[in-house]
């Protein structure tokens, strides 16, 4: 039935943005905003974030805070033109010492500030510690990001296609997963020179497996959902569906896994360097610094403390962030 009415010009008016009323009391929250809020309400997660950011800050700017380079030996020539080297000096801050005791420090380097002391060769440990932290963090970030990309693609493809493809790919993962990491490292040590490259390749070969498992599990959960079907109906190809439609929805658990993998990578690097197949001189990392400290522990016991603390705090920080993210991404009812 037709009403013979034709719309008039004055029937509709433009509504301006300020006239719109939205319900602010019960506004719906976007997923990521919820995660964000949840994460920052978690005291532990924030502590972890602060720790990691502090170490990151010092590893970037710590080495330039004083005038010593990481491989420079602190020394000067005295009036007899003899070399005086700052070997094995305990942590000292002359200004504070003067303030509290009213006396000057003794020794040849009484006016120098060594926050962490110097090592047996006379290198400043403050600079070396943060430089080492920088190397360790760099290795960890680079390898884990590459591993994330490899593992994610592998897991998503395996889960998406299923069937024969999945079967073959999972058998491969099973075999790769049952080779102990140490065996991989030892075989690599045969083929590669010791050094940073060995550490990076060893990490690349082992860490992607965990990521691929998580990505595959997420894919299996998601791939039957309607929006995937809708996308396919509209003619999207497999590549588009996997990487453009599904990948963004699996990113949460994968980021959590990254947060747990980074401390593993730092740990592995420290361990390999300690054993002697990792970072080589004159470069240093947290692992080599701990090794140096251990070698001098009976004479310079303070030397081992800074790298150990940095390592432990990094582990702590990343684990806290990981825990916080996991809770924020999949909040349980009781935590709400």
């Amino acid at each position: 039935m037709q009403s013979g009415y034709t719309p008039q010009k004055g029937d509709f008016t433009f509504l301006h943005r300020q006239d719109l009323s939205t319900d602010t009391n019960f506004a719906s929250q976007s997923y990521w905003k919820g995660v964000f809020v949840h994460f920052f309400h978690n005291r532990r997660a924030v502590t972890g974030l602060v720790i990691v950011l502090l170490i990151l800050f010092f590893s970037l700017f710590g080495p330039v805070m004083n005038s010593f380079g990481y491989r420079d030996i602190v020394q000067y020539r005295n009036e007899n033109n003899k070399r005086v080297v700052a070997k094995g000096i305990a942590p000292q801050i002359p200004a504070l010492h003067r303030l509290f005791t009213g006396e000057e420090l003794e020794g040849n380097f009484s006016e120098y500030t060594f926050l962490f002391g110097t090592d047996d060769l006379g290198r400043d440990l403050w600079t070396r510690t943060w430089y080492g932290a920088r190397v360790s963090l760099l290795i960890a970030f680079v390898t884990i990001i590459i591993d994330m990309m490899i593992g994610m693609s592998y897991g998503l493809i395996s889960g998406y296609f299923g069937g024969m493809v999945d079967n073959v790919m999972q058998r491969f993962v099973e075999i790769a997963n049952s080779i102990p990491r140490l065996v991989i490292v030892s075989v690599l040590a045969i083929f590669m020179p010791k050094g940073m490259g060995l550490v990076i390749v060893a990490l690349l070969l082992t860490e992607w497996i965990g990521m691929s498992k998580i990505a595959r599990a997420e894919m299996l959960k998601i791939k039957e959902q309607e929006y995937v079907l809708a996308s396919r109906t509209l003619g999207a190809g497999n590549g588009h569906i996997i990487f453009k439609e599904i990948l963004p929805n699996t990113i949460g658990p994968i980021i959590t896994q990254v947060m747990f993998s980074i401390p593993t990578a730092i740990f592995t690097e420290a361990f390999l360097s300690f054993v002697g197949v990792g970072i080589v001189l004159p470069q240093c990392s947290v692992g080599t610094l701990i090794e140096d400290g251990f070698n001098n522990i009976t004479t310079l016991p303070y030397q081992i403390l800074p790298p150990i603390l940095v390592l432990a705090l990094l582990m702590l920080g990343f684990n806290f962030i990981g825990d916080g993210l996991r809770e924020a991404l999949a909040p349980k009812l009781e935590d709400m």
Partner: protein, 315 residues
Amino acid sequence: MAKYVCKRIGMAILTLLIITFLLFFLVRIMPGNPFPSERMSAEQIANKRAEMGLDDPILVQFVRYMSGVLRGDFGKGTSLYNGAPIKTVLSSAISNSFRIGGIAILLGTAVGLILGITAALHRGRFLDSFCTVFSILGVCVPSYVFLIFLQYNFSFRIPFFPYFFDPSRFLFSSVIPSLSLSLFTMSTIARFTRNEMVEVFDSDYVRLAESKGMYGRNLVMKHVLRNALIPIVTVLAPLVVDLLTGALVVEKIYGINGIGKLMVDAIAGEGIDYNYVLALGILYSALYIGIMLIVDLLYGVLDPRIRVSAKEGDA
């Protein structure tokens, strides 16, 4: 069930064979030759190669090597221990490592379980936070750092324990390495036990048991712990392998002649000893795969649901 077990065992053996072959192949194609070439003429090397069968096809070599391995014969080292038979070196190393690792596992699991259960029973109170802090500490600090700490304080500053491992006083000198090795296991188990038990305590069937009048030890032992234990077994498995084999740095620092130290010597020394790398690689992989297999089967025993689903899978 029997079919499931056979399938799992078959898979494990196949995987191990593939890994062994890969290792063997990689070690054989590596650059250089296993003899000190400056001291031998080309002819001598050729003779030696023929004598050792290095010119045969790789599959023939592999079968020959494997038949030796099955009889416990791993050949001889190329640079370590003056070419002594690997078998004798390895067997003493295994016994050292396994004894220390074994103590660490027992200690870590026992104390970890006690800590975890205590924390779960006192949820939200002081003991719970204490256990949490302890387990965080144990996970964040590597075992060798604990070892250095213990060694420095209780062997160097207070010379009570020996500074290095002393095989003649086995138990006494394994206190420090076992303790430092067990801390990681301890804290992981404690954290897991606590979380699992808390989850089980909140489950419906425990609530049902409680409403039927069960309480106290009976409830905890029969209903909570048994169900909480299942996931713990899976966490324990990799830890066991790590402890039996991966006490690398600890063994190096404390001077224990175990497999870890052997591995470090084999890869980090001046020359890399390929035969040791190969033998240890096979050993590590076999242990790893074996323990994973045991855990899988144990899981079926502990969790009836898996038994059932395996049966259905067969049908």
